[in-house]
């Protein structure tokens, strides 16, 4: 008996790191999961590793595109007949530059990936969830949704915006059996962070990737990075019936970094 028996979830950016940890945890609790990612080969490897049979599927595409995000929602409903849990998880630092040097095109990339993707996915998911009077929307935000760091203004601004979107939506659907929450992880050494970290470190003026990780750890109370499993455990709670009365919550998983 799992906490999510019979539930159906979809996860943007679900083949690796945080999204993957959520997918594994959801499957372990009895849910069926559609994971999304850009790379079909990675998607296949992810399904092989998950070894969840009919309870896992992959949907290929870039989640910063509207047709992909909406396609993921529609595919999930088509395949499993319903969508109970929509995890809008993908995102990251794509463009690093101080505000005075950032171009419109770079800014748009950050907005599409981190904010518009969440809006497109949430809107489509809610259109399905509202008639069913049931649903869970879980957005992977960040400590940068409440704080700020130099050199990554697009990431910081879009994560703040996502938190606002979550709170507004929570109030809109609060009486309809649907909750909308954000999880705010501290630094986690995910694949995305390993890939983009060196550029972020340079933009922030901290020298190296290792110095970047150390800086985030130093700002926390636990003096270590967080772990993907710590985020996944919170996602399971928020997805379960136990959290039916938690909504509009910005849930930190940041080792004590955020001041509020």
């Amino acid at each position: 008996m799992g906490k999510l028996d019979g539930k159906v979830a979809c996860i943007t950016g679900g083949t690796r790191s945080i999204g993957r940890a959520m997918a594994d945890a959801f499957v372990a609790e009895g849910a069926s999961v559609v994971v999304n990612g850009r790379d079909s080969a990675k998607g296949q490897r992810c399904l092989d590793e998950m070894n969840a049979g009919e309870r896992a599927a992959f949907f290929a595409g870039d989640s910063s595109r509207q047709d992909v995000v909406e396609g993921l929602i529609d595919f999930t409903i088509e395949k499993y007949g319903q969508l109970d849990i929509c995890c809008l998880n993908s995102g990251g630092v794509q463009m690093t530059a101080p505000v005075f040097q950032m171009t419109d095109e770079e800014w748009q990339l950050e907005v599409d990936w981190n904010l518009n993707h969440v809006f497109w996915g949430m809107r489509r998911a809610l259109q399905h969830m509202i008639p069913r009077q049931y649903g869970r929307v879980i957005v992977t935000s960040s400590v940068e949704g409440k704080l700020g760091k130099p050199g990554i203004p697009g990431y910081v601004a879009t994560k703040h915006a996502v938190n606002g979107l979550v709170k507004s939506a929570a109030h809109e659907v609060g009486t309809l059996g649907i909750t909308v929450n954000a999880i705010l992880p501290g630094i986690i050494e995910t694949d995305i962070v390993r890939e983009t970290g060196p550029a972020s470190a340079e933009a922030m003026g901290v020298g190296s990737y290792d110095a970047l990780i150390e800086m985030f750890c130093a700002e926390s109370a636990i003096k270590r990075p967080n772990r993907v499993e710590e985020v996944a455990a919170v996602a399971v709670l928020l997805a379960s019936d136990s959290a039916r009365n938690m909504t509009g919550c910005l849930f930190p998983v940041d080792g004590g970094t955020l001041p509020y």
Binding site: A243, N245, M246, F251
Partner: protein, 259 residues
């Protein structure tokens, strides 16, 4: 197999309401639990309801007393051999009034009940947790630890202070394997709220039912919370999965608090 197998917890104000729900959830996950309360007769009934045998133990004490708080912590260690999880859950306020008319005593009482109690229990618990390099402290705060309501200032002040204590303590013991968090529930119709609610409502110029309706209306879910909502989050924080969450003020308020 529970997520708290082998753990020992201490829950102040554990004979009813939120504390009882937490104690019950901890027991279901394999922990051994000390519940504290003022009234041994009430505790008898609670222990009978829990029917958890040797896994649960009652220690009488008034959390407004430092020596009682310390005795509850020490008594837990004495009885079960260790202390892994402290839930400083007791709290409340009485004799509400607008600040302009508020005497010192109700504020002092609210501080003692909510802030000093949490501080005394936490300080003593750290003496046990720091040497073992592991521990969980969960303070039951309130949505009133993040927002204000007219007429309820003693409670609002005390719960804001508890949140400050939580954040400072989290930074102090963060590298030692100990987490300190606060749960901030919206209003729940516990016995304490039923007892003190009329007075609080009067200070706000409302009836008790109007008070509950106003809290529900402030939320996104338009209903008040339930004790189990809080217990589920407490289990997560107390478990190994909660190791990376500290210094957090987690809202369990149906979308009421703005941050």
């Amino acid at each position: 197999m529970g997520v708290l197998d082998g753990r020992v917890a201490c829950v102040t104000g554990g004979t009813r309401g939120i504390g009882l729900a937490i104690a019950s959830a901890f027991l279901a996950e394999g922990a051994r639990v000390v519940i504290n309360g003022r009234d041994p007769a009430k505790a008898e009934r609670t222990l009978a309801e829990l029917a958890a045998g040797d896994a649960v133990h009652f220690i009488a004490g008034d959390v407004k007393s430092r020596s009682d708080c310390e005795a509850v912590i020490d008594g837990t260690v004495e009885h079960f051999g260790r202390l892994d999880i402290l839930v400083a859950n007791a709290g409340g306020a009485a004799d509400f009034a607008p600040i302009v008319d508020l005497p010192d005593e109700p504020l002092e009482d609210a501080l003692r009940w909510n802030l000093w109690h949490s501080f005394w229990c936490m300080r003593r618990a750290f003496h046990h947790m720091i040497p073992q390099q592991s521990g969980r402290v969960i303070n039951i705060s309130s949505v009133e630890g993040k927002v204000g309501k007219p007429g309820l200032s003693s409670y609002v002040i005390a719960k804001h202070a508890v949140n400050g204590l939580t954040k400072s303590a989290a930074k102090e013991v963060g590298p030692l394997g100990i987490t300190v968090n606060a749960l901030c529930p919206g209003v729940i119709e516990t016995d304490i709220v039923k007892e003190g609610g009329a007075g609080a409502a009067a200070a706000m110029g409302l009836t008790y039912d109007e008070l509950l309706a106003q809290f529900a209306s402030d939320s996104a879910i338009k209903r008040i919370n339930e004790v189990e909502d809080v217990a589920h989050v407490a289990v997560l924080l107390a478990s190994d999965a909660g190791a990376g969450i500290t210094g957090s003020l987690i809202s369990i308020d149906g979308g009421t608090a703005p941050y």
